[in-house]
C-alpha cells in the first residue's frame, strides 16, 4: 500500500476512515514489522490513540485542518512532552521530556497524532544508523543493509510503510542520504525555516528539521505544518507563512537545471550515474534545460564539515553531565570521576570521537588553523552556490555516492563512512534547501536518490520540480516487500 498523507487526508475528509482507525492500522504494522527493522525506539499505542481520538473529535466539531488525523512518526531528536526522548543515546535513555519542541507543537496544533519516536544515529552523528544505542535500523529493501543516517529510523519507517510520514533532521545529509538509501522523498529546508527549539542540537549552525514522506507533494504539505517563525530560536527566520504547495503544478518549461561538474566526476559510476542521467533526460522531456555549473570548493566541504560540526557538537554535548537529567554513572568517588565516567559510559564511540575532534580543533593553538580556516572555507563553498544560482533555478545531482551498504561494512573506518555525505554536506554549510527523491534502482534492487538543491527560500520551486518529475515517474510508488 502506498498511502500518501494527501490520500489519507482525503479519506478522513470524506469520512471514509477515522484517525483512530488509521492509527490502529499503522500501529499493527509497526508491531509486526518493527522487530525486523528496529525503526522505532518508542511506541506508545495508548498515547497515539488518545491523540487520534482527539483528532477525530476535532473533525467532528468541524475544526479539522488539512492534515488533522493523519498520523506521523517523529525522529527521537525532537523533545515531545511526556515521551521518552533519547536522541539514540544511552545518555538520554531515561529522559522523558518535560516540554515540546516547536516542531512537535506545530504537528499537535495541526492535529496529527504521533505514531512513535524513531530510531536514529546517536545524537544524529552517523550515516548508517549503526551508532544508535538502541541498535541499528535495517533497510526495508534489504534488512542486511543500512537505511542511511542519521534519520534512518524515520526513513525506514516511511519506506516500510510503518508510517505515512516522519520528521527528520539534516546536519550534513541526515534527511537526504537515508531518503535516498530507502527510496523515499525527504527535504531539508533553508536554514532557519524550521525552528530548532526542542530539536536536540548536534551542530547548531547546520542543523535543520524537515519532512520525510513518499512524495514531494506530501513533503510540501508537511512543510506547511513544520515551517514557521519561532521567537524562541534566535536563528528562526521572520518570514510570513508560506504555502509550499503553491508551485507544485507549475510546468517545467524554461526551467534551468544546473549540473555541477564536480558531482559528475570520477566518483560517480555505475547504476547511480545511469539513474541520475535518466532523470535528467526525463526532466528535459518535461521542458527543462540543463547548464553546467561549477562548485569548485565543494570538494573541501567534507573536511570543513568535520571541523565545524564536531566543534559545535563538542560544546553542545557538554550539557550531558549527569547533573540535571539523563544518565549518571552509578559509582564515582568525586566530581571529576562522576563527569568522566558518566560521559564515557553514556556516549557511544562515534559521539566520543566527534567530541574529541571538536575539543581539539577549538583548543588553544589550533583554533586558527582548523576552526577559523574551516569557517573561511565555508564562506567559499557558500559563494560557489551564489555564483551557480546566477545561471540556474535548481541544482541537480546524486544524493549519495552509493546505494545502501551492508551493516558493518563501513563501521571500522570513520573516514569512509564520512564520505557517504560527500554530495550533501555543502548544502548544509551554505544553509541552502535540498531534497532527495527516488530516481531508480541499482542492479541489486536498491533505491537510488536524486538530489535537488534550491536557492535560499526556493523550497516551493524545488518541490515543483520534484513533483513534476514524480508525476512522470513511478519510482516513489515502489515499496519493498516485507
Amino acid at each position: 500500500m502506498t498511502d500518501t498523507i494527501k490520500s489519507l487526508a482525503a479519506l478522513l475528509a470524506e469520512g471514509k476512515t477515522s484517525s483512530v482507525e488509521l492509527c490502529r492500522d499503522y500501529l499493527a504494522r509497526i508491531e509486526r514489522l518493527n522487530p525486523a527493522l528496529n525503526a522505532f525506539v518508542t511506541v506508545d499505542a495508548e498515547k497515539t490513540l488518545r491523540e487520534a481520538a482527539a483528532a477525530d473529535a476535532r473533525r467532528a466539531a468541524g475544526q479539522a485542518g488539512v492534515l488533522t488525523g493523519v498520523p506521523i512518526a517523529h525522529k527521537d531528536i525532537f523533545c515531545a512532552e511526556g515521551w521518552l526522548t533519547t536522541c539514540g543515546s544511552k545518555m538520554l535513555s531515561n529522559f522523558v521530556s518535560p516540554y515540546d519542541a516547536h516542531v512537535i507543537e506545530q504537528f499537535k496544533a495541526a492535529g496529527m497524532p504521533c505514531l512513535g519516536k524513531t530510531n536514529m544515529d546517536e545524537f544524529a552523528m552517523g550515516s548508517s544508523n549503526e551508532t544508535s544505542y538502541y541498535g541499528p535500523v535495517r533497510n526495508p529493501w534489504d534488512t542486511d543493509r543500512v537505511p542511511g543516517g542519521s534519520s534512518g529510523g524515520s526513513a525506514a519507517a516511511v519506506a516500510g510503510r510503518l508510517a505515512p510520514a516522519a520528521t527528520g533532521t539534516d546536519t550534513g545529509g541526515s534527511i537526504r542520504q537515508p531518503a535516498a538509501l530507502t527510496g523515499i522523498t525527504g527535504l531539508k529546508p533553508t536554514y532557519g525555516v524550521v525552528s530548532r527549539y526542542g530539536m536536540i542540537a548536534f551542530a547548531s549552525s547546520l542543523d535543520q528539521g524537515g519532512p520525510m514522506a513518499t512524495t514531494a507533494e506530501d513533503c510540501a504539505l508537511l512543510l506547511n505544518v513544520m515551517a514557521g517563525f519561532d521567537p524562541r530560536d534566535s536563528t528562526s527566520l521572520e518570514r510570513g507563512k508560506e504555502d509550499y504547495t503553491r508551485d507544485l503544478e507549475r510546468p517545467l518549461a524554461g526551467l534551468k537545471i544546473g549540473l555541477p561538474r564536480e558531482f559528475f566526476g570520477a566518483g560517480l559510476t555505475g547504476d547511480t550515474a545511469r539513474a541520475v542521467e535518466e532523470a535528467i533526460n526525463q526532466l528535459k522531456k518535461l521542458g527543462a534545460q540543463t547548464v553546467e555549473v561549477g562548485l569548485p570548493n565543494s570538494k573541501l566541504s567534507v573536511a570543513a564539515y568535520y571541523v565545524l560540526a564536531p566543534a559545535e557538537a563538542s560544546s553542545n554535548l557538554s550539557r550531558f553531565d549527569g547533573v540535571r537529567y539523563g544518565y549518571r554513572t552509578p559509582e564515582y568517588k568525586d566530581l571529576n570521576e562522576m563527569y568522566e565516567k558518566t560521559r564515557a559510559e553514556g556516549f557511544g564511540s562515534e559521539v566520543k570521537r566527534r567530541i574529541m575532534i571538536g575539543a581539539y580543533v577549538l583548543s588553544h593553538g589550533y583554533y586558527d588553523a582548523y576552526y577559523l580556516q574551516a569557517q573561511k572555507l565555508r564562506r567559499l563553498i557558500a559563494q560557489d552556490f551564489v555564483e551557480a544560482f546566477k545561471q540556474c533555478d535548481v541544482i541537480l545531482g546524486p544524493t549519495a555516492p552509493t546505494t545502501a551498504f551492508k551493516l558493518g561494512e563501513k563501521t571500522a573506518d570513520p573516514v569512509e563512512m564520512y564520505l557517504s555525505d560527500i554530495y550533501t554536506i555543502a548544502v548544509n554549510l551554505a544553509g541552502l534547501p535540498g531534497m532527495s527523491l527516488p530516481c531508480g534502482f541499482d542492479a541489486q534492487g536498491l533505491p537510488i536518490g536524486l538530489q535537488l538543491i534550491g536557492d535560499y527560500f526556493a523550497e516551493a520551486r524545488m518541490l515543483n520540480v520534484a513533483h513534476q518529475y514524480q508525476l512522470a515517474s513511478d519510482w516513489h510508488t515502489r515499496a519493498p516487500t516485507l
Binding site: L92, S97, Y99, S205, R232, S234, R324, H364
Partner: protein, 486 residues
C-alpha cells in the same frame, strides 16, 4: 628595594533586568532554590537562548556613561568548561568583540592622612562585555554532597575590565567605589554587594619601582565588599613582595580571600591550565546597535557624577572634596540639590556642611540611607533658612535638627514649641548684659586691665543668662559698646 604595586580590576555587575539574559525566567533575589530556573537556564536538551533587550540597553547606557566606544556589531562566544553550577558546560560571554570598549573613569583618591588633598586619577576601562552568571553551589552537608541552585544561572552580568592602571589598594577601592556609584547612578545595577550584585576580581602584581615590565599577577576572585578588596590587595602585595625578597618566584594563580584570616589562598579547583575553547555561539547572531537606539538610550542618561562634580565646583563654589562626597550616590546628590533649591538665599556651602556633617553622621548612626532620611530635604532647607535669617544660632539649629529627626514636627513649629528663638531684640539683650556686667565686676575689671580672655567669659555669661538664645554676634557688639571698647 622600592616596590610598585600594579592593579587591574574586573568587576561583575549584575544588571537590573526583570528576566535572565537568555530566558524569560525571573531574576528576583531570594526565591526557593531552582524555582526560577526554566528549561533554558537548566540547559535541557534542545533549548536555545534569545537575548534580553534590557540587558543590551543597560550595557549601552554604561558605555555612554564612560565615554566608551560602542561596538555597533558585537558577538557572543562560548567559554567552555565543566562545573556543576554551569548547566550548559559553557558560559555565553563576549570574548572577541564586546559591546563596550575603551572608556575611562576619573576618580578622587583620598590622601594618606585625613585632611590631605584628594588626588584625581583616571582609570582606563579596556572593555565591558555582557555575559551570563552561573548558579550557586551550596556546600552545607548533603550527605557529603554539594547542592546546586540554578536560580542565578543566566542572570545578566556586565563584566567591566580595567587596564592595570591602579598603583595602590586605595586607588583600587576609589575606582571600585566610583564604578559602584556609576552603575547604580545610571540605574543598570542595584549595587547590592551582600547579594552579589557587584563583585570584584583584582589582578595584582608587584615590580621594582622604575621597571617597565609587569610582574606576574595573581587574581583575587569574588571580593564582595570594598573593605575586603582593600585588605585582600594589601595582603597580596605584602605576600608577593615577601616571596620575591625571599628568592621565590610568583606563579600566576587564582586565589580566594578569606575574611576570617585576612589572607589569600590558591583555589584548588582550578588545577588544570584552562583551555576554554572559545568560539562564536552558533545559537546567537551578531548583535547590531542601531544609531537611533543608541540616541534614545543617551536621552535617558541622567547628569553623571563627574558632570555634577564639575558643576558643583564651578557654579556653586564647592571644593573638589565636597563635590565628590555629595555625588557619592544619586540619592545624596538629589538631596543636596533639593536642599539648595529650597533656600531663598543660595548657600551651597551651608547645605553641603549640614548634609556631610550632622545629617550624614545621623544617617550613619541610625543605619538609614539618605533616600529614606527622616528629615526630608525641604525641612533641612527650612532649618538652614532660619540660620540664614539669624533666627537660630548654630547651636540652636542642632537642637532643632535633633527634634526634626525625632519627628517632633516642622522647623518653625519646633522653634516655637521649644521657645528656641534667638533673642535679637537689643532692648532685651541690653537688660541681660547690664545684669551680667553688674554681677561680674571682677571680669569687667580684668578686661579693662587688658585681659582679652575676660571678654569671652562675659560673652559666655550673657549666652548662659539668655539660655543660649541670644544672637552671639549681637552680644559681642553690645558688650563691646558697653565696655567702651567698641
Amino acid at each position: 628595594m622600592q616596590w610598585e604595586t600594579v592593579i587591574g580590576l574586573e568587576v561583575h555587575s549584575q544588571l537590573s533586568t526583570k528576566t535572565k539574559i537568555f530566558s524569560g525566567a525571573s531574576t528576583a533575589f531570594g526565591a526557593e532554590p531552582n524555582s526560577q530556573a526554566c528549561q533554558v537556564d537548566l540547559a535541557l536538551p534542545g533549548v536555545l537562548p534569545v537575548l534580553n533587550k534590557g540587558a543590551v540597553e543597560r550595557a549601552i547606557k554604561f558605555g555612554l556613561a564612560i565615554g566608551a566606544k560602542l561596538n555597533r556589531t558585537n558577538i557572543f562566544d562560548r567559554k567552555n568548561y565543566f562545573y556543576p553550577d554551569l548547566p550548559k558546560g559553557y558560559q555565553i560571554s563576549q570574548f572577541t568583540l564586546p559591546i563596550v570598549e575603551a572608556g575611562e573613569l576619573t576618580v578622587q583618591v583620598e590622601g594618606d592622612k585625613p585632611g590631605d588633598k584628594a588626588v584625581e586619577k583616571t582609570v582606563r576601562i579596556t572593555r565591558a562585555h555582557l555575559e551570563e552568571d552561573a548558579g550557586k553551589s551550596l556546600h552545607e552537608d548533603f550527605h557529603g554532597m554539594t547542592g546546586i541552585d540554578l536560580n542565578r544561572a543566566g542572570t545578566p552580568l556586565l563584566e567591566i575590565v580595567s587596564e592595570p592602571d591602579m598603583r595602590s589598594a586605595r586607588e583600587a577601592v576609589a575606582y571600585a567605589k566610583a564604578l559602584h556609584t556609576l552603575v547604580t547612578w545610571i540605574g543598570i545595577c542595584d549595587g547590592n554587594m551582600q547579594e552579589g550584585s557587584f563583585r570584584v576580581d583584582a589582578n595584582v602584581s608587584v615590580r621594582p619601582l622604575g621597571q617597565a615590565e609587569y610582574g606576574t599577577r595573581r587574581e583575587i576572585k569574588n571580593l564582595n565588599s570594598f573593605k575586603f578588596l582593600e585588605q585582600a590587595i594589601n595582603y597580596e602585595v605584602r605576600w608577593q613582595i615577601e616571596q620575591i625578597e625571599d628568592g621565590h618566584r610568583v606563579e600566576q594563580a587564582t586565589v580566594l580571600f578569606d575574611p576570617d584570616t585576612g589572607e589569600t589562598r590558591m583555589m584548588r579547583s582550578k588545577e588544570d591550565a584552562h583551555d576554554y575553547r572559545y568560539f562564536p555561539d552558533p545559537d546567537l547572531l551578531p548583535v547590531k546597535l542601531e544609531e537611533d537606539w543608541i540616541e534614545q538610550v543617551r536621552a535617558t542618561l541622567p547628569e553623571l557624577p563627574q558632570q555634577k562634580q564639575a558643576r558643583y565646583q564651578a557654579d556653586l563654589g564647592l571644593s573638589a572634596y565636597d563635590a565628590s562626597a555629595l555625588t557619592a550616590s544619586r540619592a545624596m546628590a538629589d538631596y543636596f540639590e533639593a536642599v539648595v533649591a529650597g533656600l531663598v538665599k543660595q548657600d551651597a556651602k551651608l547645605a553641603a556642611n549640614w548634609i556631610m556633617g550632622d545629617l550624614s553622621a545621623t544617617l550613619n548612626r541610625e543605619g538609614v540611607d539618605i533616600a529614606a532620611s527622616r528629615i526630608p530635604a525641604g525641612q533641612l532647607a527650612a532649618l538652614l533658612a532660619r540660620i540664614q535669617d539669624a533666627t537660630l544660632s548654630g547651636k540652636l539649629a542642632k537642637q532643632v535638627f535633633e527634634a526634626l529627626w525625632a519627628g517632633e514636627g516642622e522647623v518653625d513649629a519646633i522653634i516655637e514649641a521649644r521657645g528656641l528663638k534667638q533673642v535679637s531684640d537689643s532692648g532685651a539683650l541690653s537688660a541681660i548684659i547690664d545684669e551680667v556686667l553688674a554681677a561680674n565686676a571682677k571680669s569687667v575689671e580684668e578686661f579693662r586691665s587688658g585681659k582679652e580672655k575676660a571678654f569671652n567669659a562675659l560673652v559666655g555669661q550673657v549666652m548662659k543668662a539668655s539660655k543660649g538664645k541670644a544672637n552671639p554676634a549681637q552680644v559681642n557688639e553690645l558688650l563691646k559698646k558697653k565696655l567702651g571698647a567698641g
